[in-house]
Amino acid sequence: MSNLTEEFPSISSNDLKQYLREMLFIRRFEEQCNIAYRAGLAGGYMHTYIGMEALASGWINSIRKGYDYVITAYRDHAHALLLGTDAVAVMAEIIGRKGGTAGGKGGSMHIYDPENGFYGGWGIVGGHVPLGAGLAYAARYRNEDRVVLNFMGDGAANQGVVYETLNMASLYDLPCIFIVENNEFAMGTRLEYHAADPELWKRGQPYNMKCERVDGMDVIQMRKDAQRIIDWVRENQKPYWVEVMTYRYAGHGAADNDRQLYRTKEEEEVAWARDPIARLRKYLIENNIMSEEAIEAVEAETEAEALAVLEKAKESPFPDTDEVYDNIYTDMTPEKGH
């Protein structure tokens, strides 16, 4: 049995099994996305979460799903899947189909599912960060005890609007957790080349905000830190700034086909030693929570599921051409025609 049950938060063996399944599914799902991209089914900009699974898993498994709000940038598939968005609808969106979460109008970068608390899915680096604070403003305005998980990248953490937002979030006591997914790169620019002080965790300090750096490669530790911070924010109705250390094994996006431009193969190999899925796998076996065979079975199942998701998504038709004018407004269309 897990020795974690005495600790806070109580994480059961079943929870850990669930995390493994979810993380494996995300990774297999993302691999299918890459396959779809190479096959010409998905286009545009598409960014996978491979290597970062423990981060979103730890946070999203610590909130009240469907009640608390979650918002992130364009690297958004995992967040939606963890919140319970239908995987086929996510995949259908990624390949631009009618059955997608936005009917094929958003694409990979713009997945939304407000019913499950997910507010996207945004493509302007740093631009969604004030929106997340706005969600927190609404919660505060209505005297609800929701918290907001406001994810952004290490590159986004340089944008001016982020700091305008930190100032206001602190000034107005907004229950908003700013989570920097520090995967060490902003596209092809290494952290040290884009941040004057690479210790990004400090950047909430001038705004009178609690700040810290945590590890996002160990899902158990991530889950504990996330729960502690979320509980604090819910209780104290104040924002929090967290730098989470992680790494993306994949390229920046599907269009990044030469990672050697910004990092070496050796570096990647070292990073693979921190693989969050391998780490959890090892933990489960060492603590006799799951056998090697049981894990292999889950691996096979999630692989088959991800494959089936892509197949099912492909059955969805392309949007009808007359839908192009739909939903620009709630109640009208703009002038039509070229």
Binding site: Y69, I71, T101, A102, G103, K105, G106, H110, Y112, D113, P114, Y119, G120, G121, W122, G123, I124, G127, H128, V129, P130, L131, G132, A133, G134, L135, A136, Y137, A138, A139, R140, Y141, G160, V161, E164, T165, N167, M168, L171, Y172, D326, N327, I328, Y329, T330, D331, M332, P334, E335
Partner: protein
């Protein structure tokens, strides 16, 4: 008939805001210096006492923001996504340029990118165009920039009754709305319904403020006031001008505009924004495309000079279209 009361444009605007805030708890105001300082153009005078407390560090219903236009436009947008109905004041529309990324890349795109799943009911309002000697960085007419963007609605009322009724319609609309107020209008007076909280002016309907049969003077916001003045001057010369107040740029009521042009066979479009590429050019192009056979003269435009706004009063006045400029265009049309 409701009781009517004479109010300034500024007072009528505030009346619309207050009625909507009283009607719906989800409506709140945010902007720079709108609370304790009462607003730069005093549109929000007295509201901090009404909807908050002067001594509070902040008031959620009338929120004084730091000078961070992008940040607060974004926070308001996020709040709207979660169901609130913010009214955001820009101290001047020139400063909304700092928030263009939020408004264009985010606010205006939400409903489409979510295929209608997330609504964004929000109003951005503030003075745009020249006030008096505020020079090059404080005098932008931004309405044409916004009216270029699918996903936004853009209103530019010219009378107290219209700003009152359109403010209310804007708040009730489930889409992002830009309300453009020319600072030269704040002090003008007009009759407004006094105690008819249900009164609104529809979005997307132009108004004929003066009927005439010889030429259509098409404009919006303060230029409509100029057009009314010009129409009186022309009447003395025996020219019967029709004044079309566009009021709503997006959506644009081409039906009313075209009906006027088909009657008068001549049109001058007047706008304060830079002549080149300003919204009046769009109106003129549409009249030219769709009313060609009805026209007895080319569609003419009167716009602001294509220069950054200078400071010296004589140069500033030279830049802004006035009655003489419109009269000169009318003469060309005959």
């Amino acid at each position: 008939m409701p009781n009517m009361i004479e109010l300034s444009y500024r007072e009528a605007l505030q009346k619309g805001i207050v009625e909507e805030m009283e009607r719906d708890q989800n409506v709140f105001l945010m902007g720079e210096d709108i609370g304790r300082y009462q607003g730069t153009f005093k549109v929000t005078r007295g509201l901090v006492e009404k909807f908050g407390q002067r001594d509070n560090r902040y008031n959620l219903r009338i929120l004084d923001t730091p000078i961070t236009e992008a940040g607060f436009a974004g926070i308001a947008t996020g709040a709207a996504m979660a169901g609130l109905r913010p009214i955001v004041e820009f101290m001047t529309m020139s400063f909304s340029i700092l928030a263009l990324d939020q408004i264009i890349n985010h606010t205006a795109k939400i409903h489409y990118m979510t295929n209608g799943v997330v609504k964004c009911p929000i109003v951005f309002r503030g003075p745009g165009g020249a006030a008096k000697q505020l020079s090059a960085q404080h005098s932008h007419s931004m309405e044409g920039w916004y009216a270029h963007v699918p996903g936004l609605k853009v209103l530019a009322p010219s009378t107290p009754a219209d700003v009152y009724g359109m403010m209310k319609s804007a708040v009730r609309d489930d889409n992002p709305v830009i309300l453009y107020e020319n600072p030269g209008l704040y002090a003008i007076k007009g009759m407004v319904p006094e105690d008819d909280a249900a009164f609104t002016v529809p979005i997307g309907k132009a108004a004929i403020l003066r009927e005439g049969k010889d030429i259509s003077l098409v404009g919006y916001s303060r230029m409509t006031q100029i057009n009314l003045e010009v129409a009186e001057l022309l009447a003395k010369d025996g020219i019967d001008a029709e004044v079309v107040d566009v009021r709503s740029l997006l959506p644009l009521d081409t039906e009313t505009i075209y009906a006027s042009v088909k009657k008068t066979h001549r049109a001058v479009v007047v706008y304060e924004d830079w002549r080149s590429g300003g919204f009046g050019a769009e109106i003129a192009a549409r009249i030219g495309e769709d009313c060609f056979d009805d026209l007895d003269a080319p569609v003419l435009r009167v716009g602001g000079l294509n220069v950054p706004m200078p400071y010296a009063r004589n140069l500033e006045l030279q830049c802004i279209p006035d009655a003489d400029d419109v009269l000169a265009a009318v003469r060309k049309a005959f």
